[in-house]
Symmetry: C2
């Protein structure tokens, strides 16, 4: 198909498609004449993936280029592709060295040992976890670490579901793309579900929707609803 | 304390502190002389909260202003504060109206009904969930909706843990701040845990770290480790 048809099918404007080609996100079309290129279903699929990572995953163009580069490189081990996809969470910060950082790192090491997780404290996700916990400690919420095992139970549930989904994919290309989509878009899915579950849990705990702060606890045990 | 001392204690440069005051994130200090202001522990605590929301939560200054405005407004119902904190996930997009959007909306409605969640399809998080699922559908991963109940189980676990934590806080001020911190920073915690659990699950499923794509499945059942 021509670029105009690709644009119509995907809803992506022609100049934007050309920009993605220039940035290396999308392979160029095949030249059928000096100034006309042909695109196929693979282009359409890739374009939809780019839009999903941009619009729902919140990735920047540079991050998408990196992730797609990993997807397209058959020699790249699977866990490296996963790492590239996860990097969009961008732990910008260097390690800090106050008491909270030390406490958080210890809590993470103990968690990994306690769960028997086959991972290492040097994993970037472990550093991100320490950073988040240390930040909570600095605002007086060090007690949040008490929730770590409940959070870890939930993370294991999600990871098992994801891996089960990925392992059902037929081809390796499918598998890698599934890992990327699962990591980036699956996070958006879980984030939305967590907020919905919060609304539900707080409606049950604090009563119906619209209760002000002074109504805290007033709705507990309310009957005749549901 | 003077602004220099506040800067030393928190590691935030003086011009940055002044910028936060101008933007309304931080209340001004109390003037002890025409060109000298005094800051107290509440300023220090607020400043640490701002940094945590910025650095770990990834919120922009405008989003923080909105969230802190909600925290500081005692008439604002708790669930509105929660909504302001959750808004940083910024569903930029308008609703789309293709077949995938329709399928996703139906899946979300059915999920909410099936789980008996006391929430409504009009909740912004429900719209975000639909958007993420529709995006997956458009890249050929509509089957991801099969994982929704496993994801929802995990989200309920996390929400119960969060609410349990929040309900243990003594004062209302604490409670509201806990909700904000839990929503924003708790998401960073869960995201990191999910990635760690992925590494663990794939190490168990596909063998040791560093296995290439061609080694997929080769490590399943490997013994003598762990």
């Amino acid at each position: 198909m021509r670029i105009g048809e690709l644009s119509r099918r995907t809803g992506v404007p022609v100049p934007t498609i050309k920009y993605y080609v220039r940035e290396g996100l999308l392979p160029p079309g095949e030249l059928s004449s000096p100034n006309q290129a042909q695109y196929d279903d693979a282009h359409e699929r890739r374009l939809r993936l780019i839009r999903a990572l941009l619009d729902v995953g919140g990735l920047k163009v540079a991050a998408i280029a990196e992730v797609l580069g990993a997807v397209d490189d058959p020699g790249r081990p699977l866990h490296k592709v996963l790492g590239a996809a996860a990097d969009r969470l961008g732990s910008a910060g260097g390690a800090e060295d106050d008491a909270e950082a030390e406490t958080a790192r210890t809590a993470v090491e103990e968690l990994i040992a306690r769960r028997g997780w086959r991972t290492h404290e040097s994993n970037p996700a472990a550093a991100d976890l320490s950073r988040a916990l240390a930040a909570m400690g600095r605002v007086g919420h060090g007690a949040f670490t008490e929730l770590l095992d409940e959070y870890a139970d939930a993370a294991e549930l999600v990871a098992r579901a994801d891996l089960g989904y990925v392992s059902r994919r037929a081809t390796v290309e499918d598998l890698v793309e599934s890992v990327v989509i699962g990591t980036v878009l699956g996070e958006a899915v879980f984030s939305a579900l967590r907020r919905l579950a919060h609304v539900n849990a707080s409606a049950r705990l604090y009563g119906a929707d619209g209760v002000g702060r002074e109504g805290r606890g007033g709705g507990v045990g309310a009957r005749g609803e549901g």
